[in-house]
């Protein structure tokens, strides 16, 4: 177990370093460049030269990368010249909101998708399975922002139930905040349910055909116990791994949702930074989000190894 743990950890570290190199090179090889983005197109040649030297951009790229990486290790992600704030303090402000949005949407989606997928797997090819599969497919075919719009039209314009944007976030009472969370969470959650329930359904189908189910039935275990004790457990294990793997998609989805509902999370921060060409924020957000994803995958793998001992020795 320890060996497996160390191997996976090493792998995650390597992946993280690879990603940071890709991101760094990408940002430094694009036209315009850091200095022009900061000073604007009308800056004098002298000003451009001075800032280039000051930012250390005359050094070779590998050296620049190492300097940047050393700063990151120390917790210094740079300084946003547009927001006039350090990137790490911005992240401390914005990341928890996205975690709240994504976390509650994922938990809610799992709470719906697991029983639904189990039900569909047991009732495979029955009418109710077909209806649910069809509904999920229709939901899957909607761009997330269009789904959000439909929910806005239904729950905000038709029935004045929930606010459609979070412009007042953090300024009014806690109750107001919760109301503002409803539509973004619901939108993100519905999108996730389509993925999760599909995994859960096929995991259930696969597990129902396994030998251990037949063995359990042969020795007279009740149907209830077979389903909840054996099939459910094993299906959840593989579903959780898949959820870990879909994490990048979910985070990406939150970018669009945050833009639609004006929800002030890292997605909106990133989007605004992209409009402003605020490189330090772009670099910082991508790094943090990627590390979060790798950690998510890592823990999903680890959880799976704990549940299923076969993985450890593979």
């Amino acid at each position: 177990m320890t060996g497996y743990f160390i191997r996976r950890l090493l792998q995650s570290v390597i992946v993280t370093i690879l990603v940071s190199i890709v991101v760094f090179l990408l940002l430094h090889s694009l036209p315009g460049g850091l200095v022009r983005a900061q000073l604007g197109p009308r800056a004098t040649a002298l000003a451009v030269h001075n800032l280039t030297v000051q930012e250390g951009l005359t050094k070779p790229l590998p050296v620049q990368y190492l300097i940047w990486a050393w700063h990151v290790v120390q917790g210094n992600l740079g300084y946003s010249y547009k927001m006039n704030q350090s990137v790490s303090s911005l992240l401390r402000e914005y990341v928890p909101r996205t975690l709240l949005l994504v976390g509650s949407a994922m938990l809610l989606a799992l709470a719906v998708a697991v029983p639904m997928g189990l039900w569909q797997g047991r009732r495979r090819n029955h009418v109710d399975d077909h209806v649910l599969t069809g509904t999920m497919m229709a939901l899957y075919s909607m761009p997330s922002f269009f789904l959000g719009v439909i929910l806005i039209v239904l729950l905000n314009i038709q029935v004045h139930a929930f606010p459609s944007s979070a412009t007042t976030y953090g300024q009014v009472s806690a109750g107001q905040d919760v109301a503002e969370l409803v539509l973004p969470v619901l939108t993100l959650c519905l999108g996730n349910i389509t993925y999760f329930s599909r995994y859960m359904r096929s995991a259930t189908i696969d597990n129902l055909l396994e030998d251990y189910v037949r063995t359990a039935r042969a020795k007279g275990v009740s149907q209830r116990r077979v389903i909840y004790r054996h099939v459910l457990r094993n299906s959840i294990a593989s579903t959780v791994t898949m959820v870990g793997l879909t994490f990048p998609y979910i985070i990406s989805g939150s970018l669009v949702i945050e833009a639609l509902f004006n929800y002030p999370g890292v997605g909106l921060l990133f989007w605004n930074a992209a409009q402003d060409r605020d490189y330090p924020i772009l670099l910082g957000v991508i790094l943090v989000v990627t590390v979060a994803t790798i950690l998510g995958n890592f823990f999903a793998d680890l959880a799976y190894a704990v549940i299923d001992p076969r993985v450890r020795y593979a």
């Binding site: 992946v15 890709v22 497919m137 761009p143 922002f145 990406s252």
Partner: protein, 332 residues
Amino acid sequence: MSDSSTPSPVEVSAPADEGDVLLVAPVHSGSPTEDAFSDFRVTDAGEILQTTPPWRAALAIFFENKPAVVSVAVLVLITLFSFVGPLVYHTNQIASSLLYQSRPPGGQFPLGATPNGRDELGRLMVGGQSTLEVGFAVAIFATGFGVVYGLVSGYFGGIVDAVLMRILDALLSIPFLFFVVLLASLVVPSLLLLIVVISAVSWLSTARLVRGEALSLRTRDYVKAAEGFGAKRAWIQFRHIAPNLLGVVIVNGTLKVADAILIFASIGYLGLSVPPPATSWGVLLSAGISNLFDGYWWQLWPAGALIVITVLAAAILGDGLRDVVERRLQKR
């Protein structure tokens, strides 16, 4: 995989050497009757074996799946709407007009006008062109690159495979939309650039799928047989394994069309799509969302419906094709 609604051909276990025999004609009271599978022959053992070429058998399975057949028709119709439509229905898609801003449907504008005073119906056709182009181009690029990468990885194995797969891991853990936003905001996006960018994220899962399939195909008897005859590894990989991936790859490619259209729509919503006078359904939908609280339904629902219908059709088609592939594999 049983299908109760349509009479599926009766399966007779084929001798191991009958490589291409896929389906067996239905046998009614001892003598075969005329139907879709009229080509058959009788083996020495007395079994009636159907020798229809594989593609015809596959086609027959596909046509059993009514939703998949309908979605092909829908995709053809939408393609005609986008590419042939403007030839029949002439509108000015270049100039914007303040006079006609967001005109409701009627008279000159059968489906109203956009916020820039262009004809919405004509706009949907133009938007459909870029959307479909992106969908299909991405599917082709991503599939091509993913197949080569996966086959190379599976071919060399060992350390090369490990390195290639770790690179894939790294790329897969990057939330792709953040990268797209980054790229599209730093350079003025052209259709080709967007295709390249979306392909750059789409090929990853194809590569992984192909490598996995290639590895599992390696353990098949016919590969072992080829090895036994002394075939080179490259020959086996590209001559025996690659053709057998075709089914899985086609299914994957079809689903990639759906995914690419969804990503393209999201990019359009984020305001990073092709610059006017070109447009996309995502951009049109985005304009409709800006006017959401004004009740301009014609700017919202048609564009949204077109995206959903196209993606749904591609997804159902992919499912139907998967059905064909899986049932073919079962016969192997």
